[in-house]
Amino acid sequence: MAREFAADAATPPSWLWWLFVAALALALIAMPKFTDVSLQLDLSIIFVLALLALSMSFLWGYVGILSFGQTIFFGLGGYSYAILALNAGTTLWPFVAAICLPMIFGAVLGYFVIYGRINDIYLSVITLVVTLIFEKIVRSTSGPEYVIGKVRLNGQNGIPGVPGLQLPWDSSTLSIDGVFYLAGGTALLVYVGLRLLLLTSFGRIIVGIRENETRMELLGYDSRVYKLAAFVLAAGIAALSGALYAVWGNFVAPEMFNLNQAAQVVIWVIVGGRSTLIGPVVATGLVQYFSNWLGTVSIGQVTLVLGLVLLLFVLVFPRGLLPTIAWTFDKAFSKIGGRRS
């Protein structure tokens, strides 16, 4: 995972990687036995947000699309789950719909921005603008006339009392342990899934498009189809994260669409290094703890520090923390070290 935009992402993972995944899974299963509730809640939200980071690093690092739209789908996923679950009284199919609806929206938005072949950088700006407008729309719905079904949208204040997820074989809603397992398990599965997806021909084609779009087109691949598919897939992962966020917090608010939220996702990915999938996951945990700690020091400074972190990383460590460490490590031990994946 060392090199930026590592082309060897398409090589099958070594047995060490499988060992690593197995260790993570075991740690995940064992965790609730040894930790207290507050740590579990903290870790759950980090897993949920790590999914969001994964969706972005997949899209940015491997497809080469820098989309700020991940917060659109995150917010849409959360709001869809909240509105549908409160209306329906059940939770399972609203959860599924909360992943599908944002994917449909992603397909429509993606069609317009990808099939027009507009400049990649314009795509970034357009998705950012869409996020901003979504936040404005949701904020403007504070009046009592904005009701979907029997749920009031509440504008600024968000929707409280979102029900927890209820699994079909269990009559009670998910406990804290259950949410922990769900969030952690989903994050791990999505990580492994994306890593394995990059091995398939689809994965190789999207990495090829990132490397040289013209060449892939000349080889006969319609890059737009693949880009759109990857965009919709990433939208689904972000929506999953949003729905889990609503399950975790029992609450959705317009802040989910907010510019700070979008900035945080970018910071996770850039700190972790967009060339790896695991980097952003680790960075999510680090940055989340860091900003929680900042929040306890004083309010209002969080954006200031986040802004500085973003500036610093772009100027000094444009490759991200993990790849920089790995690169230094590789250099120092280049005689001994083999390739790690």
């Binding site: 820098l66 938005l109 069609y111 317009f112 921005v113 099939y115 027009g116 072949r117 507009i118 400049n119 950088i121 314009y122 970034s124 700006v125 357009i126 950012l128 603008v129 869409v130 901003l132 407008i133 404005k136 729309i137 403007s140 510019l259 700070n260 900035a263 970018v266 850039i270 209002g300 400074q301 969080v302 954006t303 200031l304 520090v305 986040l306 802004g307 500085l308 972190v309 973003l310 500036l311 610093l312 772009v314 100027l315 444009p318």
Partner: protein, 286 residues
Amino acid sequence: MDLVATTAYLVIYSIALLVLISLGLAVIFGMMKVINLAHGEFLMLGAYVCVFAGNAGAPLWAAMAASAVLVGAFGILVERLFIQFLYGRIIDTLLATWGLSLFLVGAVTTVFGPQGRSLSTSFGNVSFGGINLSVYNLMLIGVTAAVAVLTWALARFTKLGLIVRGTMQDPDMASALGANRSLTYMATFGYGAGLTGFAGAMLAPITGAAPTMGVFFVAKAFITVIVGGHLPLMGTLAASSLFGAIDGVVSYRWSSVLGEVSVLVVAVVLLRMLPSGITGRFRSGL
């Protein structure tokens, strides 16, 4: 008749507003290809300078001039501190200016507090053709037109404008012919920032100044410049006219949020049909 007149006035006013907030971005993004996500915060700084100077007793024109000069100087500082290292790394510029944007919002909130500040001006209303018009808004339309014409004339007719246009078109050739590339980039960025600061100052009597006000304008400004296409001035004017008309009518008829949504939808559909913007087919011009 009244309805037609009122709508026409509103449309012209929202076109002028759009041109005003986009002009600085047209220079920085349209001409220099630097994505400045801190554009909204430059507006915010301009508004703050104007509000403070105005409340300290300076005449309004002096406060606005101070905004343009100070924000322009701040732009030059930003360009020297990090933008100059990032030319050509377009995504990194975007991220760095986003960091700057968050930093500025945080810094202004910390220093001046989260609440907004207002500036009271003593402009009245005039009655014209049966409708009541605010003198300040009429002035804003006039001043915006003047600033747009001035920028166009500066780029089109002066030696400085020639050097800037040449450098943006082909930096290597321009510097081979003796133009100072680094200085030209710095000055152009400073001019764009100054325009933005001035726009913020023009907005101050209408919206006041608040740390997060930038977010309200940055979306519209970016859409306008992107849809405008590769001729920064003509494109911005064309896109402003289109979006100003849509925004003006929809906002007046329904709500301002719906106005913005319709602008966004039209922009996205338009970009599907004209991926290189309204002026994408034009070969030369400004």
